[in-house]
C-alpha cells in the first residue's frame, strides 16, 4: 500500500504523536544524568528533581520584596499584556478588515497604509515605543498590537473581499444596504476567519511579549527568563519555557474549539 493512502486510526495517532516527544524527553534525561554523573553540581542540564526544587521557591514562597508568589505574578502580568494586546488587535482587525474588504473607497484610501505598516519589522519600532510611551505597560501592549494587527487586518480584509461577488449582488437584490451587507453578510462570515487569524497571531504575539519584557520590565514570564539567565538557572528557564508552551497550546485549542462550537457552518457539513 502506498504511504499516501495509509490512514492512521485515532488511538494509533495519539501513540505515534507522543512517540517523538517521549524520545526527546528521554534523550534529555539521559544527557542530563550523564553530566550529573561527572559533575553533581551541573547547572546546564538540570534533572527534573533540580527543576522541581528550583521552581518550588517561585511557586510557593512569597517574594521577600513584593510579597507575591513570583511564578503566578509573572504569569498574570504576561497574560494580562498578551490578552490586552490580542484583544485590541482582534477588534481592530475585525472592524478595519470589514470596511477594507467591503467598501472599495476605504480600501483605496487605507490599503496602502496598512500594507506599509505591515512591512515594518515591529521590533525596530520598539525604541520609538519606549521613547514615546515610556517603559510601562502601554509600550509592551503597543508592541504586540503593532506587531500582529497589520497581518490580521490584511488577512480579514482579503477574506472578506474574496467572498463570492454573487453573494454581495444577491444581498443587494434583496434590498440590503452597504451597512446591512457589512453586518449580516460579511461580519458573520469573517468571524471564523478572525478566530483562525488570532490562532496564527498567537505565536508572533508571544515573541513580541517576551521581547518587550526582556528589554524593559520588572515582572513577567519573559522578564524572569532573561533575569535568571545571569545565574545560569536552567532549572527555572526550562520550566518557564515549558509553561509558556503549555499556555500557548491551551489558547490554541480553546480557540479552535470555540470556532467549531460557534460557527459550525464553517466547519464542513456536519452540525
Amino acid at each position: 500500500m502506498r504511504w499516501v493512502n495509509r490512514q492512521v486510526r485515532r488511538g494509533d495517532r495519539i501513540l505515534l504523536g507522543s512517540l517523538p516527544i517521549l524520545m526527546l524527553l528521554l534523550l534529555y534525561i539521559f544527557f542530563a544524568a550523564q553530566r550529573h554523573a561527572i559533575n553533581p553540581a551541573d547547572k546546564i542540564l538540570p534533572l527534573p528533581a533540580g527543576m522541581a526544587s528550583g521552581m518550588s521557591a517561585l511557586l510557593f514562597q512569597p517574594d521577600q520584596l513584593t510579597g507575591q508568589l513570583t511564578f503566578w505574578a509573572d504569569t498574570l502580568a504576561s497574560l494580562q499584556r498578551l490578552g490586552l494586546g490580542l484583544g485590541i488587535s482582534t477588534l481592530t482587525a475585525l472592524i478595519l478588515g470589514l470596511v477594507l474588504g467591503v467598501l472599495p473607497p476605504v480600501r483605496a484610501t487605507l490599503g496602502p497604509l496598512v500594507t506599509g505598516i505591515a512591512v515594518i519589522p515591529p521590533i525596530a519600532l520598539l525604541p520609538i515605543l519606549f521613547i514615546a510611551l515610556g517603559l510601562g505597560e502601554t509600550a509592551k501592549v503597543a508592541l504586540i498590537v503593532i506587531g500582529i494587527t497589520p497581518v490580521m487586518v490584511r488577512d480579514i480584509a482579503a477574506h472578506v473581499a474574496d467572498l463570492p461577488r454573487e453573494q454581495i449582488v444577491k444581498a443587494q437584490t434583496l434590498g440590503a444596504s452597504s451597512w446591512q451587507i457589512m453586518i449580516r453578510v460579511a461580519l458573520p462570515q469573517a468571524m471564523p476567519r478572525l478566530l483562525h487569524a488570532v490562532r496564527l497571531a498567537l505565536g508572533p504575539a508571544w515573541v513580541f511579549l517576551i521581547s518587550a519584557e526582556a528589554i524593559a520590565s520588572d515582572i513577567g514570564l519573559g522578564y524572569r527568563i532573561f533575569l535568571v539567565r545571569r545565574y545560569l538557572s536552567m532549572d527555572v528557564i526550562i520550566p518557564y519555557v515549558a509553561w509558556i508552551a503549555g499556555l500557548a497550546i491551551m489558547m490554541d485549542v480553546a480557540l479552535a474549539f470555540l470556532s467549531r462550537r460557534m460557527f459550525p457552518w464553517a466547519h464542513g457539513a456536519r452540525h
Binding site: Q180, R184, V185, Q189
Partner: protein, 265 residues
C-alpha cells in the same frame, strides 16, 4: 414604450474588446425569455447589465419606462448558478433576509410579532418551492438542487418585477433539472413572474421559454475577432404561450408527477 423592460442600443466594451453591440430588446410583463448563445457571446454580460451589476458602455435601460440606476436593487431578483445563498444562514434565515433588510434598516433583524409575521411569509414561500421540511438546515447540508430551490425562494419573497436566472440549473443532475424545470414553470404561472433566463442548454431554453433570444456575432473579422460584438441574431416567440391549452395540460401533468415523487403537498 409599454414593455416592462426596454434595452435601447446597448454596447458593452471591455477595453478594445466589444462584447455586445447595439442590442435592442423589449421584454413584456409575464414573459419567460430564454437567452442562449455560444460561450463568450455576452449572455452573462447582458444579464449583469439588466441586473445593474455592470454599466453598459453605451445605451440605456428602462424598467417601467423609468431609466434604471446602474445598481442592483430589489426590483430585480437573481439566481446564479452557484453562491446565491448565504452559507452562514439556515434555510429560514436565508429566506427572511430580504424581509429583514427592508423592515429593519439598522439592525437588519426582526424581533417579536414582526418576526413571526415574516417567518410565516417565509415558510409559505419555502413550502411552495418544496423546502417546507428543511427550514433549519444550512446550505452546506443540502444538495445542489435544494440550494437552488432556496435561492429561488429567497429571491421571490421580495416579489421582484423581473427574475433573472443565470444558468440556474447548469450544475444539477439531469433528473433534478427536470424537477426544477417543473418548479420554475409552476412558480412563473402562480406568481405571474417575468423571467429572463440565460442558459447554454438549448432544450431547456425551448421547453421553458415563451420567447427565445440567441446572441451571437453577426460579423467576424478574422484578423481582429474581438472588434465585433454579439447581438440578438434570433428572436423567436415560442409556441408554448400562456394561452396554449394543449401544452398547458402536459406541463401540469409533469408537475403533478414530480410533486408526488418529491412528496410535498
Amino acid at each position: 414604450m409599454s414593455a416592462l423592460l426596454s434595452l435601447r442600443g446597448i454596447w458593452v466594451e471591455y477595453g478594445d474588446k466589444i462584447v455586445l453591440e447595439k442590442v435592442d430588446l423589449d421584454v413584456d410583463g409575464g414573459s419567460f425569455v430564454s437567452i442562449i448563445g455560444p460561450s463568450g457571446a455576452g449572455k452573462s454580460s447582458l444579464l449583469r447589465i439588466i441586473l445593474g451589476q455592470e454599466v453598459p458602455t453605451r445605451g440605456s435601460i428602462f424598467l417601467d419606462d423609468a431609466p434604471l440606476t446602474p445598481e442592483c436593487g430589489p426590483d430585480r431578483g437573481v439566481v446564479f448558478q452557484r453562491y446565491s445563498v448565504f452559507q452562514h444562514l439556515s434555510v429560514l434565515q436565508n429566506t427572511l433576509f430580504g424581509l429583514e433588510c427592508t423592515a429593519a434598516p439598522f439592525t437588519a433583524r426582526l424581533f417579536g410579532s414582526a418576526r413571526r409575521a415574516a417567518e410565516k411569509d417565509a415558510i409559505e414561500m419555502l413550502n411552495s418551492v418544496g423546502l417546507g421540511d428543511s427550514i433549519h438546515l444550512y446550505p452546506a447540508q443540502m444538495s445542489g438542487g435544494m440550494q437552488q430551490r432556496l435561492a429561488i425562494a429567497q429571491a421571490l419573497i421580495k416579489r421582484p418585477r423581473i427574475l433573472l436566472l443565470d444558468e440556474p440549473f447548469g450544475a444539477l443532475d439531469p433528473g433534478i433539472r427536470a424537477d426544477m424545470h417543473a418548479l420554475i414553470l409552476r412558480l412563473w404561472r402562480d406568481y405571474s413572474l417575468t423571467i429572463i433566463m440565460v442558459t447554454h442548454d438549448i432544450r431547456e431554453a425551448f421547453t421553458l421559454g415563451t420567447r427565445l433570444i440567441a446572441l451571437d456575432k453577426r460579423r467576424i473579422d478574422p484578423h481582429a475577432p474581438h472588434r465585433f460584438g454579439a447581438s440578438a441574431v434570433y428572436d423567436l416567440p415560442l409556441k408554448r404561450n400562456k394561452g396554449s391549452l394543449e401544452e398547458e395540460v402536459i406541463t401540469v401533468d409533469i408537475i403533478q408527477e414530480n410533486e408526488t415523487r418529491i412528496g410535498y403537498e
